[in-house]
Symmetry: D2
Subunit: 466 residues, 4 copies
């Protein structure tokens, strides 16, 4: 039997209008002017709610191996948490480690996710070793596997690091097959010098994780990636987890020049700081050790990143969800910040944290929908299946209650973490109902989903290139 979401205000990337949304099976089949839809259907009352496309989190790391441990969320726990937070699609990073066959890395990732996910998922591929075989594999993944984006690292020498020659070759390949290159843009070799010097000076607290990854080295790498992409005939480039004003300037300059350069930021860079979180007393700051790091509140990063979100120099907000518990995981770095696993868990809170920007007057309602759902779907070849409320699209829909309130705490969240990066935060707005491919996963705070409902989605090429 079909379902009509009735009485709500549908919000798209360009505007809002009252409309009723008809779901049949897994898809949206029609939109109606209020009250003109069919009667003989199940009704979901959306009065007073925003009806928005389900969130698309384009950057997560379920079960990622890192620094001798694994990210603490599985596809089961992590996607269930995502569902609670109004995110109905994640794009996770499959990993090729140096020396590994790309397809083997992909197979391993499918094995982790298969039958485990609560919401739909897709994959980017991390290339840890760009060589002739990996370059060939890129073509195969684009053509056959629905993987159209590849992530490279300018940081982490000896682990994921690619040198500029490798980066250039991967970009040339992406230019040819239409894929997107995603870049972790920090100058790793220089950072490693600073880290070693800090440790040698006895500066071992989590705070020094931030100090040894200065803004200049993120801005530098961002600029370098943009220049390499221009040498690769303007290969499309997407800067992940941009955290700093000067990196944003490099992106804005490229975009003003008409380049196919895009960037994402994450909620942590919009709200948290080097001093207040990473510099928390004792080892507390370890909770917020992530790379790129939190930036100084004495500079203007928060202001500038919100501005970048408005002006579209930042196109997407993802979480870079990469959770580690304090116990046994973050604690590996007691006495040496360089041993703390890098990552913050947040897949559950992105939609709410960004809605707070709407409440604060920093973002329009339309832009909120665009940055959390429509643009990531377009950017990564999921549109119009995901990211939009339109006839024929997957029925991935969130009813969002602007009158509700959300309180964040490790006691109540659904991620597999023993703490929260946002402990005690209370914000305006609330995820009310979450629907994935026509199935209600969350309603009235209760969970109706199940492991295995989520399916792998093959992605097409980005439709966002200009």
């Amino acid at each position: 039997m079909a379902t009509l979401i009735k009485g709500g205000s549908v919000v798209s990337a360009t505007g809002r209008h009252p409309a009723d949304v008809l779901i049949d099976g897994e898809r949206i089949v029609a939109l109606f002017a209020p009250g003109t839809g069919p009667q003989d259907v199940e009704i979901i009352d959306a009065t007073g709610k925003y009806v928005i496309p389900g969130g698309v989190d384009a950057h997560t790391h379920m079960e990622l191996p890192f620094g001798g441990t694994h990210a603490s969320d599985t596809f089961d726990t992590g996607t269930r948490a995502a569902a609670f937070g109004g995110t109905t699609t994640i794009v996770d990073f499959a990993v090729q480690r140096t020396g590994e066959v790309v397809q083997d890395g992909l197979a391993a990732w499918h094995a982790k996710a298969d039958g485990e996910a609560h919401v739909d998922y897709a994959f980017h591929m991390i290339l840890g070793g760009v060589d002739d075989d990996a370059l060939k594999a890129m073509d195969v993944l684009v053509a056959d596997e629905g993987i159209t984006s590849f992530k490279l690292f300018m940081a982490y020498p000896g682990v994921f690091y690619s040198d500029d020659g490798q980066i250039l070759r991967a970009m040339q390949k992406a230019r040819d097959n239409g894929a997107m290159i995603m870049m972790h843009a920090e100058n790793g070799p220089a950072i490693d010098v600073l880290v070693q010097q800090a440790i040698a000076r006895g500066e071992t607290a989590p705070y020094y994780h931030g100090v040894t990854r200065p803004e200049a080295l993120e801005a530098e790498a961002t600029h370098r990636a943009i220049q390499l992409a221009s040498v690769a005939a303007d290969c499309p480039l997407y800067i992940v987890h941009l955290s700093a004003s000067k990196a944003l300037e490099a992106v804005a300059e490229a975009r003003d020049a008409g380049r196919n350069v895009f960037a994402e930021t994450c909620p942590q860079y919009l709200y948290l700081s080097l001093e207040d979180q990473l510099g928390a007393p004792g080892f507390e700051g370890a909770k917020w050790v992530c790379s790129t790091p939190l930036r100084s509140k004495h500079e203007n990063h928060h202001r500038d990143l919100w501005k970048g979100l408005r002006s579209n120099d930042l196109a997407v907000v993802s979480t870079d969800h990469c959770p580690f518990c304090m116990k046994d995981q973050k604690e590996l770095g007691v006495g040496d910040f360089s041993k703390i696993p890098n990552g913050i868990g947040g897949v559950e809170h992105r939609v709410d944290l960004l809605y707070q920007g709407v409440v604060d007057g920093k973002l329009s309602l339309e832009r909120w929908v665009e940055t959390i759902a429509t643009t990531p779907a377009r950017m990564f070849g999921l549109y119009p299946r995901k990211g939009v409320i339109a006839p024929g699209s997957d029925a991935d829909i969130v009813l969002y209650d602007p009158a509700g309130r959300t309180r964040i705490s490790a006691e109540t969240h659904h991620m597999n973490m023993d703490h929260s990066a946002w402990e005690g935060w209370e914000i305006a707005g609330k995820v009310d109902t979450v629907i994935s491919r026509g199935t209600v996963l969350v309603r009235d705070g209760e969970y109706h989903g199940r492991k295995g409902h989520g399916r792998y989605v093959k992605r097409g090429l980005s439709t966002y290139l200009h």
Copy 2:
């Protein structure tokens, strides 16, 4: 009886998807996944066509008095031509001349348009004399008259010119009442010196119209308007008919800084040049005398403006439709280019000329729809009534045929002009069917509309501000 537009591909600002569109009366009432709509309705077959929102031309001058004559299109002829070209809403400029009461100017414009228009129309208000009364009138027009944008001139001293003090006061008022300030950004006092010097040197041909309005003086005024708007607490500012690379740079810089600064360009600045058109032999160039002027092809204006369209530093494409016949009108300036009435007629060709950008790979299909319809509607408070295909919106719809071709000529166009700025141009794509508020105006090249169908639309505040 309701009508179903069936089998087409609906294109929005964010994507495209196959869908059927149901019209009942003057409005869109539903969108359906292909084949799932009602059967007992009139069918318009849209197979192979793009189904897009009717074009919104945010800058026209029907019957504008200028230089001792009037723009040659009336609301009757001009809006009929608009309809032929796929534009179903125009925003024309009502005029307050210096010394005139603002409301009287508005009344005169209503008198011109009332009962004459073939498509819906709204008004901006030109303020030719900012004083205490005019400032009070701004509040009245916003509150009661559906006029939420006001145009000022930094050019034309002694005619429309406002000095920087007047501009600042109008901006402060707009900041308070939520209106948009539109700016003709050229440094008139400096231009007038160059014009007088050129005439004195015997440089009287149309070509010198362009030479005496150099890029630097458009860039200067654009920059100045942006600075004055910042002094007025970031009053929203919209630069009209931007023509030059360096003016675009000023806009891009402001937008990178998060400012509420927007700009439009026009088809003539994207395709035509100082040398090839304005510099045509004899008096021929008079056809292309408009201000801002066509720019040199030896610089990179075309390239940069297309780039600005992609990057959204240029948000809108309007026509600045202001037609004058060669005979008796443009001819007033034989022997003295400064006496040539300024203006190019193009209201009929905007949708097609911009589609050519899609064919040429300079613009995505989605961005085409956004710049010709969605953004102007949002920018000027017409959305979601205009500019989008959504339940509840006015049924202003164009079926666009990507397989068609359009040939432009004065012999076939519908504007009241004895020549065409685009004579002989043949371009890919064709307006197939035009529907205004549920009524088919154009189909199979035949006209079914009528004078008086078009109504005045009161506008709300811009929903595009960030």
Copy 3:
């Protein structure tokens, strides 16, 4: 009998080296490696001292009529104070008021100065009314009168203000005859609106003088002047009393583009602020009412201006010496800041205040000499007669004692002012001996000069243009 300045360290714009300087009559006749000069001469012992060219203050206003009163220093008192401070040449502004014949204004200024000055002086010409006669006069002054720079005002409508057409015409003339255009770059019409609004709101204290002349309106006018100069075929342009970061950015951008654009700042903009001085309690702030105004200490103006001095985006430091006493003069503006005569007196302190920058590590010793003497001499056609220690140059020499200290106070200064803008400041370094055209004016704190020693110097064209 000749005089040998012996044992000192001669400092030039490019370096320092021990050398002895031989003076014969009014000129320097030789430089010797230490100890190799003649013996049978009068010796001035310069051991431990810097031997530098006498200061050139390129911006003073002796006896300027302003707001119903006159600047309180005459050429007698003002140039005597200059001598005490190590400045041996001033360039004062002769004034043509609107409607006045330029040559008459010049004659009046000669009348003020003739026989009164203690140090050499030259004139710029203020054009208060650019018309055909004034343009012709520019040629005459350049050719015959030794006046090769003309100042225009973008501020003060109704007083000195020129509109953009007038500015353009004067720039074209300067381009032809080789003169320099000097610009007071503030948007006067917009400022006047803000001033009237502030007064109407009862914001009448001196502090509001600063608030109503915001940085954006200095940056705007600076940018506009630069653009107009480009339209005038890159007429050389010199921005006077630049005070703000964003105005400096406009200058830097022009200079990066290879333009003949120069700028000066003044000591007040390098050290004083809106809050600490202009915002002093009661009417005290009136002492620091000058235009451009002091800027906010919460922004980075001081830092940026010092940086501009280092990078040569600021080429010159002048004083804009324009003294008014509190009593009977500044007091005209009690209850209405707009009636406070604009100006700060400082001709006596420039050399010392800038040397403090050397002590603070903000400026090299060479750059100090360059900005206070060599560059202004080159910029305004006084070099090599002034601004350099070289055989054949005028013997205008200062022995500067880096081990001395200078305390500034109205009780001890020599300007005709009842207060000091720098009251109580004590700084490192001290003017030890001052020589003008071979005559010792100041030695051991005693004055040996006399009224009438100073002569009018006809200037050549700028030798600084690139």
Copy 4:
């Protein structure tokens, strides 16, 4: 017996004035106003000549091993040629190869030069392997050896290449000991990919040497070096052989920000191009294979570099003299441009080629002197011994004849090269007389110098830092 250079016009970095220069032994002992010097001395008549400080070429490579051969000029032949061209000091690059002890590399260079040079010489040190020992050696060289500048390479992986961590460490060391870091700024790893791909495609001609080293990769590396220097607490940085507009932009931006960033260009980048020289038919282009490469004439590099010279964003003009004969040397790369030894010989022509810029109106006479002599002397700690005509300075003096003409040809030049990069060029101006430490080396085209006259000069720290 002393010598008086009489009747000439002494030109310094700030101006020109008629003066007579007295030399006694190796030094200048006095400057006199014309005609006031001693009579009982040898007279060199400089009537009609410019008297300028001897040229300082801060970038030469005598006998440099490169690609299996050696630069073809020895210290004997190369410095003799320098003397002919008015250059009286060179700063050559001693080389530490990877794995070599820094001091051994220095000793080897001393061995090459000792007793061979015709003019004075100093050394920079190339660090081919930054490690703990090399860092310690930097301190030793600064303290004891008169070597205060160290060159690193971002290009040539496996040869001179330093990674970003090594660069950062060397910069930190330089920051501490006051030395200057000189940078070959090209992204070597990316260039190597392009080179291999070109060769694989059969693009083996010299022209492809330029194509595979695109501007973007010089701009990128320049920007990166600047960012790394900022992380090293604003370590002073000097970019060598800057060739491209966008690299210049990066330098200008840093300088506008007040950074201690400097750059040099070379005559080849000011006059020659990718198409006209490197693209010469057959293997002819090999003559102009150097890195950074010649740039395209269809862009604006020449215009921009001349502009940078005027604005001081380019501070120095050196030659990067690194000559290879076509026969047996350049010919190594027939069929594979990557095997062509990189380098152009030009130590003999720099002074003349730059004077041509004065004749062409691109550079002032003063700026010519500054860029070829005064600034390099200041930049590299040779001032005031070199680079200035002042009492106490070394008597390194050139009489330059503005009425002469210079014709360049391999048949007449004195460098050990079988061709000339400037074959057949005839330019205005001529080196008339060259004096080194009081000894006339060149007069009336005849050579009076001798091998061994030139001595090693220990340098101090840069006096140019601000």
